[in-house]
Symmetry: C2
Subunit: 263 residues, 2 copies
DNA sequence: ACCTGTGAAGATTTTCACAGCA
DNA sequence: TGCTGTGAAAATCTTCACAGGT
């Protein structure tokens, strides 16, 4: 069985606009769009803080590093309604995005592996503040069990099943060494966790109905290294390229490009 | 850069963009493929450790969670030569991948922002071990300046330009708060850094010739939250789905149980 | 007999471009 | 006039399926 980074259970055709009880259309949203929606949400939050009340798709797209048409299409997936000739009202759009991303419901997060990286994740303020409280910590090291971080005590991995059930964990984060990751993943899945964020350098095999997203630091650096190398090759190879690049660089000295996401 | 009217954000498309105008290909490798190449490299490393000498595309693809045809196509971008009827020799393929990803040359990394997350990144063993030594640390907090982590002293951000030049930094990592990220990014670019890995919750604006990759923890969690919510909606809507999901869960509950280790 | 490398088909995502409304 | 929402075209990525080695 294969697990593309985001093998959603929704290989499901379901083109038809199935309608949920509430009446909102449950249309399939491309994974890439979901990622961008989360991005727009943050940018909108910043705009709201500044007191901005409306934005055009051009403005919001610019601030998000995205093509305006793409932004409008992304919003269309969640049935957003802007005002023609004006743009979008920041506050309502923000609420709409939160709702569409399922942020109205609090998601309890469990973190397995409180080593170097795990410790930082456990203490990361960005989580709790955004509706993702870390409610459980696990490690296999007896010296760590019982230690508290941000008011949460570390439990032994053997307690995973019980603790996750008790605390209603819906999202699992894995920050163990690579060899341990699959085992931990299996346990989380057995506990009913269906969404996993994996920081361990390992490819996780999971059932079809489980979503895994991966953050792989080594891979990120290697991808950048590839670009460094390619840049050297390109420069060494074509004088024409060098000229073109220099020209482009000069032109861009003033105007800037926007670069968005990854993962 | 080249022709495309718009340098797309997101997973920066025109990677091989440097297709020589009148010259040789310098074949462009799709960004998605580059990411997977890095993944194959890791899996191959594991195979090599186990003493495996050859793998078929099926096996390697399975272990990487990827479709075999896709794997072969990915490898074809870097002109890999397997042996028909047999597969790939692990060691040569591993070397080939390392070379193609530019890992033969050591990349010096600078990390800006030694807070909660930054501290963990500075101590992350996976970097140095993979040819990405962190050679410089920066922060704006006077209390941190002078502190050493893993033998590297933290410098003040004001020293960024000098230190990066002295130590030949080629890759920058940003782990500052969101508001500080753009400023830091500008400084890195001014120092000649052309590849940046951004952990800060901010969209960075950079010139065309700079590659940015982003790791955004809040976005990752929100994407997972979206899937949790969608799953609930789907379950509430389609009774057939519920049955199928329950069955899948049951089957997997009986699945292997592995006692995991943790750091 | 088996497995790679790849053209071509298929699927998905991005972008264009314009109708339609405020 | 200005900007959204969206059908359709373009670009990109994935998968199939098979020719061609070993």
């Amino acid at each position: 069985m294969t697990l593309p980074p985001h093998a959603g259970p929704g290989s499901d055709p379901g083109i038809g606009g199935a309608v949920a009880p509430g009446g909102s259309p449950l249309r399939s949203v491309p994974e890439a769009s979901v990622v961008r929606l989360a991005l727009y949400l943050r940018v909108l939050g910043e705009l709201a803080e500044q007191g901005t009340e409306t934005v055009s798709s051009d403005e919001l797209a610019g601030a998000s590093g995205v093509n305006p048409a793409k932004l409008r299409k992304d919003l269309s997936y969640i049935g957003s309604y802007g005002i023609r000739g004006v743009g979008y009202e920041v506050a309502p759009l923000l609420r709409h995005l939160e709702h569409s991303l399922g942020l109205t419901q609090r998601q309890a997060v469990a973190l397995v592996g409180v080593g170097n990286l795990g410790h930082a994740l456990a203490g990361y303020a960005g989580f709790a503040g955004n509706g993702f409280p870390v409610v459980a910590l696990f490690d296999i090291d007896p010296d760590l069990v019982g230690v508290g971080i941000n008011g949460i005590l570390i439990d032994h991995v053997d307690e995973l099943r019980r603790v996750c059930a008790e605390r209603g964990v819906t999202i699992g984060m894995i920050a163990t060494p690579g060899q341990a990751a699959q085992g931990v993943c299996d346990q989380l899945v057995a506990c009913g966790v269906r969404c996993i964020l994996n920081f361990a350098p390992a490819v996780l095999q999971v059932p079809d109905d489980v979503d895994v997203r991966k953050v792989d630091l080594a891979v990120e650096l290697q991808v950048l290294a590839f670009h460094v190398a390619r840049r050297h090759l390109a420069a060494a190879e074509g004088p024409l390229n060098v000229v073109a690049q220099a020209a482009a660089a000069a032109i861009n000295g003033a105007g800037r490009r926007v670069t968005g996401g990854t993962s």
